[in-house]
Each structure stands twice: as C-alpha cells, then as structure tokens.
C-alpha cells in the first residue's frame, strides 16, 4: 500500500471513516504517522471546545470567587479546590463510573458515558477551575490606579467592568492562561486511558501511539511521532494565544508588554 493510499484509508479513521481494520503487521512509518495524526483530531476537538466553553465559565467563577457575598464565594472556592486538588485521572474515572450508573436511571444519560461528551464535560469543568484561579489572581492584581481612574471618569458597575476591569484582567492573566491552554491539550491524552472506552478503536493520538508501541514492542518510533505532533500543536497554540496577547497589549509601550513565556507543563 502506498503512502497516499494509507492516507486515504486512515486519515479519518479516528472518526470512523475509511478502513475499518487497523494495520496488524508490517507497520510502515507512513501508517504510524497517518493514524497518530488521525487521533490528534480528537485531542484538538476536546481541547478547543473545553477551552472555549471553559473560558466563559472560568470568568463567572473568578467573579464569584471575588464576590463579597458569601453564598457566591464559598461554592466557587469549593468547586475550584475540588478540581484543582485532585488528579484529573481520578476525576475521569469517577465521572465515567458516575455516568455509567446514571445510565441505568434513564436513557437520557446514555451519551454521557461516551468519551465525546462525558470526557468533554470533565475537561470543561477542570479547565474552568484552573483558569478561574488564574483569572482570580489577575483580578486581584489589577493596579489600584486603574480602578481609581475609572471612578474618576464616572464609570461604574457594568461599564467599569466591561471597559476597565475585564480588559486589564485578561491582559494580566493571558500569559498564564496560555500555559493553561497548553496543559489542557496535553491533558486530553488521558481520556482514553481512564475508563472511557475507545469505541471501535476510535481513539486519540496517544491511543494509537500506544497501540503501535504494544504491537511492535518498539516505543522508539510511535512516541517520537506523537511528540512531533504535540510540539506542532503547542507551537500553534502559542502562535494563536500570542496574537491575542499582542492585541490585548496594543495600547502599551513595547517594553511594558507582558510576553507569553512558555513554562514547563504540569500534570494535573
């Protein structure tokens, strides 16, 4: 099979299109590249949707955490502690078995025990908690002068928030938030190792890399390929978030702009 045919057969294998059987012997480099790349679609899917939806929830959570009202503050604190204080791996397992037992209650909950929805919900909640902590930290470090200036201009309430507090908060939080986005994409590789079944072998990049490593007893090919893909993905994230960062900082003189610095990733 030529490499082009392999591409046709396996490019969308992780979504269920193309050749149904995975290669079983005589694994070529091309097959490994194509299949692992095909699995990457799932990583991108989980990462992008969780980041976009989590962004809004994280803003709400950060506001709640900063609220003077106790009934708003303590649930937000509790939520953030639970999701930041426990391993994501255990959260996945717990959620999966929770969804399984919900399944027996009513068929409405059926899609929850599939990875595309169930794991997405866990990732959404998890990234919301981590991002909320970042946003909250940024909110607390807004310079007092900015708020006083807003007051002096007669801005208050929603206007003050929308035009002064929120943009400054985003600007301060953005470098840390970029790292959070990168960690989240890396965390998506845990999904298929934590209970959620890869139905008909439709898995993510690590699932296929692990498949090849198991079949060939040779970890030195599939994992570097996976690493290659993820470094590429990381570079794309840095480019996108860097562009947003430049826009957030566009009113500042060059040397006062905060740069996005890539810090080593952390497991959660």
């Amino acid at each position: 099979m030529s490499c082009f045919e392999t591409l046709q057969a396996y490019a969308f294998r992780s979504l269920g299109y193309g050749e149904r059987l995975l290669p079983r012997s005589d694994f070529t480099l091309c097959e490994q590249f194509v299949l692992i790349g095909s699995g990457l679609i799932w990583n991108v899917y989980f990462g992008v949707i969780a980041i976009v939806t989590g962004f809004f929830f994280a803003n709400a959570l950060a506001m709640a955490k900063n609220s003077p009202r106790r009934w708003l503050r303590s649930p937000a604190n509790g939520f953030i502690f639970v999701f930041r204080g426990s391993p994501l791996f255990i959260q996945f397992f717990f959620a999966y078995f929770l969804f399984l037992s919900l399944k027996s209650v009513s068929p409405i909950f059926d899609p929850l025990s599939a990875a595309w929805l169930g794991a997405l919900i866990v990732l959404f909640l998890n990234t919301s908690a981590y991002s909320a902590e970042i946003f909250y930290g940024a909110l607390r470090s807004i310079p007092k002068g900015d708020i006083e200036a807003a007051d002096a201009y007669g801005l208050s309430g929603w206007h003050r928030f929308r035009r002064v507090i929120w943009p400054t908060m985003m600007r301060l939080a953005w470098p840390a938030y970029t790292n959070e986005a990168i960690f989240l994409f890396h965390a998506t590789t845990l999904v298929y190792f934590s209970g959620f079944p890869a139905w008909r072998q439709k898995g993510d990049a690590l699932y296929y890399a692990n498949y090849f490593a198991d079949k060939t007893f040779n970890p030195f090919v599939p994992y570097p390929i996976l690493a290659f893909y993820f470094i590429l993905l990381t570079l794309v994230i840095i480019a996108v978030f860097g562009a947003i960062n430049t826009r957030l900082n566009r009113h500042l003189p060059q040397e006062r702009r905060t740069k996005v610095r890539f810090k080593p990733q952390m497991i959660r």
């Binding site: 078995f97 190792f193 040779n218 970890p219 497991i267």
Partner: protein
C-alpha cells in the same frame, strides 16, 4: 450448608464475620471492608506513599544534576542539561510515562544481553519482537513473583524520577539564577574557585528561591501518582477498579453491584485530603524559611504584631 465451598484467604478480623450471608447494615459493611482483598487495597495506599517518598528525593537529585549541567561551561554538558530540561516541554507527560517504562526495560535488557551473551548472532529486533537471550531477561523468568513486582515498581520510580527530575531541574536552574550576582562576585573576590563558590555560596542560598517552585512540584507529583496504574503497578486505581466491579454470589461472600463510582469517590477524597495537608505543611515550611530573610515575606513577618514575642519563646 452452602452448595459451593468458598475459599477463605485469611481469617476475618471480627468474629461475627464467619457467615457474611446473614449479616446486615453496619456489621456487613465492617466485614466487607476488612476482607483480605481490601487489606491489599489499603496497602496500595502505602505503595503510593512509598513511591512519593522515594521519587521526591531522587527527582530532586536528578534535577540538581540537570540544573548544574545546564549551568556548566563545558558545552556538551550544558547542551545535555538544557536538553534534559527542554525535553519534557511540549509533549504530554503521560506519553513520557508510557515511553520510558518500555524504553528503560528494553535498554536494561539490551545492555545485559550485550554483556552476558556476546556470542549471540541473531538480531535483537526480529520484526515485531524484542528477543534477548534467556539469562539477559530482566527479571529472570524463574525469579519469584515479588521480584517481578519490585522490578516493575523500580522501573516506575525511575520513570517518575526522570520526568520530575526535568521539572525540578527547571525550577533549580531558575533558583540558581535568582541568587543575586553580587554574592558570587563577592565569593570570587575572596579568591574562591568556581567550584567553591558554587558549593559554598550558590547552593546554600538557592533553596529559598526554589521553594515556591518545588512546593508546586510536590503538589503535581501527588497528582501524578495515579499514573502508576498505567505503568502496570497494582496501585490504588487498580484495586478500586478490581474491588468496585460488580460481584456475584458465586465468587464472593460479599456480592454487590457496580460500586466503582464509590471507590473512586473515596480516592478523590483521599487526594483532596492529601493536597490539603500538604498545603498546610508547605505553608509552615515557607514561613519558617522566610523568617529573617531579606525578602518581602520575611519583612512582612517582622512587622506582624505578635511574631516578635513568638520568636523569643
């Protein structure tokens, strides 16, 4: 009389546990939670703590060597150190866990093969197989079960130490650079060699700067322990899946439905408690270390009312 004789692995702790079928409520639960298998589950918490106790110092040592190598003036050593720090960036760590376990295992067997069976003429990689001679196998095929388990555990520890060593190297590298340059210059002015100024001036001072990063790393290390499961060690995740799955009357004295959710809830609470305790302890250490330091935290402590009296007692 029961139709199927059941195997007892271990005498029960409570005397009333001899016939679980007639027990109810709290008594049933107390018997259920003290079965031999559950003892294995509780012991696996010890495995996690043991892993943490061995990995933390080992990773710190790896990190220290990595950071020192990255600072080295010998180019290949510096490249090696910086490469080590950089290698875990940009790639999901779980991929490293899966990679290193096989890679280390095959590396060790390959080395033993080269040493012990030098007259072997077949290739080691035959298609999809990794073939080494019998006496190069790690552990040997005829070794007892505990050797296999210990070997698996050591591989896991080494993998954790390599990955977390890279994180620690990054933290320590930053801490070494955070030590004020004037300190090193003073050491040089006193005529100390680079080696002396490194060991006598830089290393003792860097820990204050490294502490926030290292405490963060400790939290991350705690949260990484469930990944032991992926490395094939019988850890708490393994046992929770094993014990929680539904059990029928046929195979156990304590039949129950699918309880895995409750077992993982227990694990979740265990980790939350562990994190909370660690947070409190680390906050104490940080207070202790910044006492009398010329940093913001130390200054705040000095001005705090009541601490002066505390310090004298």
């Amino acid at each position: 009389m029961r139709a199927i004789p059941r195997q007892k692995t271990r005498p029960a702790i409570f005397s009333y546990c001899s016939d679980p079928a007639i027990l109810e409520g709290f008594q049933w639960l107390s018997c259920y939670l003290t079965t031999g298998k559950h003892m294995g589950f509780y012991l696996s918490f010890g495995t996690v703590l043991l892993l943490l106790a061995i990995t933390a110092p080992l990773a710190l040592a790896f990190g220290f060597f990595g950071a020192s190598a990255a600072r080295s003036r010998i180019a290949p050593l510096a490249i090696f150190g910086k490469g080590y720090i950089a290698i875990v960036r940009g790639v999901p760590d779980i991929a490293f866990f899966l990679f290193f376990v096989i890679a280390l295992d095959q590396g060790i067997e390959w080395l033993r093969h080269k040493v012990k069976c030098s007259d072997w003429d077949e290739p080691i990689r035959q298609g999809n197989d990794f073939v080494v001679c019998q006496i190069a196998k790690m552990p040997l095929n005829d070794s007892p079960q505990w050797v296999h388990e210990a070997y698996g555990f050591s591989l896991a520890v080494l993998t954790f130490a390599i990955v977390f060593g890279a994180f620690a190297a990054n933290v320590l590298f930053g801490a070494m650079r955070a030590v004020p340059r004037a300190q090193i210059e003073t050491a040089e002015a006193y005529g100390m060699s680079p080696r002396q100024s490194f060991w006598r001036v830089l290393v003792p001072q860097m820990w204050v700067y490294a502490l926030p990063g290292l405490s963060n790393l400790w939290m991350v290390l705690i949260k990484a322990t469930p990944l032991l499961f992926l490395l094939g060690v019988e850890d708490i995740v393994y046992w929770a899946r094993e014990l929680g799955g539904s059990k029928t009357e046929r195979f156990t004295d304590f039949p129950h439905g699918d309880w895995r959710m409750w077992y993982f809830l227990a694990l979740l609470i265990f980790y939350l408690a562990f994190t909370k305790v660690s947070e409190l302890v680390l906050a104490r250490i940080s207070r202790r270390l910044s006492k009398g330091q010329a940093t913001l935290a130390g200054e705040a402590q000095r001005k705090e009312p009541g601490t002066a009296a505390e310090a004298t007692t």
